[in-house]
């Protein structure tokens, strides 16, 4: 297999001590008719070379907005970035000009989406869409770019890649389409790959295959991988660390096995209890009661308190900070230690 080789020393962006991405105190709001929806309220995440970070949270918690802000593909307006920094290899993406950011999208940071059918352009052949990366960013001619596309389609295990390079997205199965999205995203060998619910639209067996492929590619290319999901079950085997999101903030951060064994935030507890687990077979499945808060009218105190079984008086008045409970574990709850130990 041949791939386009780029001289590594020519790379403009190099991680410092393996650190690829540092998102600091990111604030994003949406101006809607109902008012200002505070979608992100001080999000902090980081990503190192070769590791997989899972971002976990219910629908509407701000996972996609976080990803899209990092990619720089948020629609502004209605969105507005009101604060924070996104450092990629030490440089703040939010301070860069649009052209410089475009040169990062694809070659440095790239992204795959939940629904590959709608995320691929219906009127262009899949090979053309992959080849476009090489044509636009590397200036390759049509036939060389298409050759690269075939190699990539082979790499993501699309059977008969050379014959199917001219086929259109609707002519593939859901799993194959997601493989094509992946091929397109890794085309230029990015350092960071963000996958926003990449398997949500797929059947369980295909989900596992796609996750396996992502893991394999990540190890092969030493990419930093951000896996966004609302289903911890999907990422448990693949992720190294987890950041749990609720109402536009990170409420818990820890290594996967720690969280899985013993959560430190009541919201994580609820999420864990609501996934089917073999070791709890026979028990009734749990669902967190109530709904996430309206982001235009956030409740005072802890944003989770209207739904929290552990809430006490202080929870409705004081907003807990994200603090270290035990080394390496952070939780934003007034009673983290209690949660962790009980």
């Amino acid at each position: 297999m041949t791939t386009v080789t780029t001289d590594p020393s020519a790379k403009q962006y190099r991680p410092e001590n393996g650190r690829l991405l540092d998102v600091e105190e990111l604030h994003v709001e949406f101006h809607t008719q109902e008012g200002v929806a505070r979608a992100l309220n001080g999000v902090n995440i980081y990503l190192d070379q070769g590791e997989t970070l899972a971002i976990l949270g219910e629908s509407g918690s701000g996972k996609s907005v976080t990803a899209q802000t990092v990619m720089g593909i948020l629609d502004i307006p209605p969105a507005k970035i009101t604060g924070g920094a996104i450092r990629y290899c030490g440089q703040d993406l939010l301070q860069m000009g649009e052209e410089q950011r475009r040169e990062i999208r694809g070659p440095e940071i790239s992204m795959i989406f939940q629904d590959a059918l709608s995320a691929l352009n219906p009127v262009f052949p899949v090979g053309w869409q992959i080849a476009e990366m090489f044509r636009v960013h590397r200036g390759l001619n049509k036939s060389d770019a298409l050759d690269q596309a075939v190699h990539l389609m082979e790499r993501v295990q699309i059977p008969g890649a050379r014959d199917r390079v001219k086929a259109y997205p609707h002519q593939f199965s859901g799993g194959m389409r997601q493989r094509i999205m992946i091929a397109m995203a890794i085309a230029l060998d990015p350092a960071v790959l963000i996958a926003d619910e990449p398997t949500t639209a797929l059947d369980v067996t295909v989900q596992a295959q796609i996750m396996g492929l992502l893991k394999e590619l990540q190890e092969e290319r030493q990419m930093g991988l951000i896996l966004i999901t609302h289903d911890l079950g999907v990422v448990a085997d693949v992720a190294d660390r987890i950041s749990v999101m609720y109402a536009g903030r990170i409420v818990e951060k820890a290594a996967v096995h720690d969280i899985y064994a013993n959560p430190a935030h009541p919201y994580t507890e609820g999420l864990l209890a609501s996934i089917p687990r073999l070791d709890r077979k026979g028990q009734e499945l749990y669902a967190i009661g109530g709904l996430p808060p309206n982001l235009t009218r956030m409740p005072p105190g802890c944003p989770f308190h209207p739904r929290c079984g552990r809430a006490r008086d202080i929870c409705s008045s004081d907003d807990p900070d994200l603090l270290e409970v035990v080394p390496g574990r952070l939780s934003a709850c007034h009673f983290s230690e209690e949660v962790l130990n009980g």
Binding site: G106, M111, A119
Partner: protein
């Protein structure tokens, strides 16, 4: 694909037969003496009438008359009109003019309509959007007759920047203004269609993907979003072309264009059955062929449509 085309062509046969029979029946089965008015003030002589009935097979029952007529049509013979001219030849000349006029109108519609619609759709609610919405509303609400006469007066007569009438040659220059007038209504529709579709496609997931691929806004909008937005627009233009081939009575009248519309109009007025039936027969066939072409084009533009 080949099978599809054959099937479609076969489907046309009953449509053509049905449509032409209807028009034939309506024109030739009209009550009254078909020779009335052909011999000045007097009634025609019995000899003339007999010859007339013989020539047009009027003594046969209607289906037989029609059958004899169609037998000639398939050989390219549309008969002679009341002035003794060959209808096929005359229609040929007229169609050259009408076809040119239709193509030029289509060009105006496409170029200006799509450009205006794209500029409007890129930023919905922006200045260009408002400008396009107002000016298209203006075009849509004014009858073509008014647009034609007013523009002919100002551009042609007063300022002399356009040709006032069209000669028998119907040069491109002469047809510039008439084709613009003829296309103006569809131009407004195309602008609106493009605008709505583009604005909608700009919110599509694949446009977000295009941005995530690091493409320029020009490429994202101009290639990815616009390519999808033009599918319904090109289809509309195809059907519009079919309609334009039927002639444009008003525009032809204003600018004295020797087109198909005027030919049919005069034929109907003079009760010139052969001319009318001939023209309509050609028109039906042309319209059906254009329809087939549009459907094939649609399949090319949108790979999700299959013609198997």
């Amino acid at each position: 694909m080949g099978k599809y085309i054959v099937r479609r062509l076969l489907q046309m046969i009953p449509v053509v037969l049905g449509a032409t029979f209807l028009i034939y029946a309506m024109v030739f089965a009209l009550p009254g003496d078909p020779t009335a008015g052909k011999c000045g003030e007097r009634e025609c002589s019995e000899a003339y009438k007999a010859a007339f009935y013989e020539k047009y097979n009027l003594n046969d029952p209607l289906p037989i008359q029609y059958g004899k007529y169609m037998a000639n049509v398939v050989q390219g013979d549309l008969g002679e009109n009341q002035y003794g001219n060959d209808v096929a030849g005359e229609l040929g000349d007229r169609y050259l003019v009408t076809g040119k006029l239709a193509l030029m109108a289509l060009l105006w519609e496409g170029v200006i309509g799509i450009a205006a619609g794209a500029l409007a759709g890129i930023r919905k609610g922006g200045f260009m959007d408002s400008l396009v919405l107002v000016s298209t509303l203006f075009l849509i609400s004014i009858p073509v007759f008014v647009t034609g006469v007013v523009s002919q007066f100002f551009l042609g007569v007063k300022w002399g920047v356009a040709s006032v009438t069209v000669s028998a040659d119907a040069t491109v220059y002469e047809l510039l203004l008439p084709s613009f007038v003829l296309g103006s209504l569809s131009m407004a529709y195309i602008a609106r269609l493009t605008r709505t579709n583009l604005a909608e496609n700009l919110r599509a997931d694949y446009v977000r993907t295009a941005k995530a691929k690091g493409l320029t806004p020009q490429r994202t909008v101009g290639l990815h979003a616009l390519r999808n937005s033009l599918i319904p627009v090109v289809t509309f233009m195809g059907y519009d072309f079919g309609a334009l081939l039927g002639g444009a009575i008003v525009t032809e009248g204003i600018f004295n264009i020797q087109g198909v519309g005027g030919y049919i109009f005069r034929g109907v007025n003079n009760r010139d059955g052969v001319a009318v039936v001939g023209a309509v027969t050609v028109l039906v066939v042309a319209y059906l062929l254009v329809n087939l072409l549009v459907d094939l084009l649609y399949g090319l533009l949108d790979p999700r449509i299959s013609h198997d």
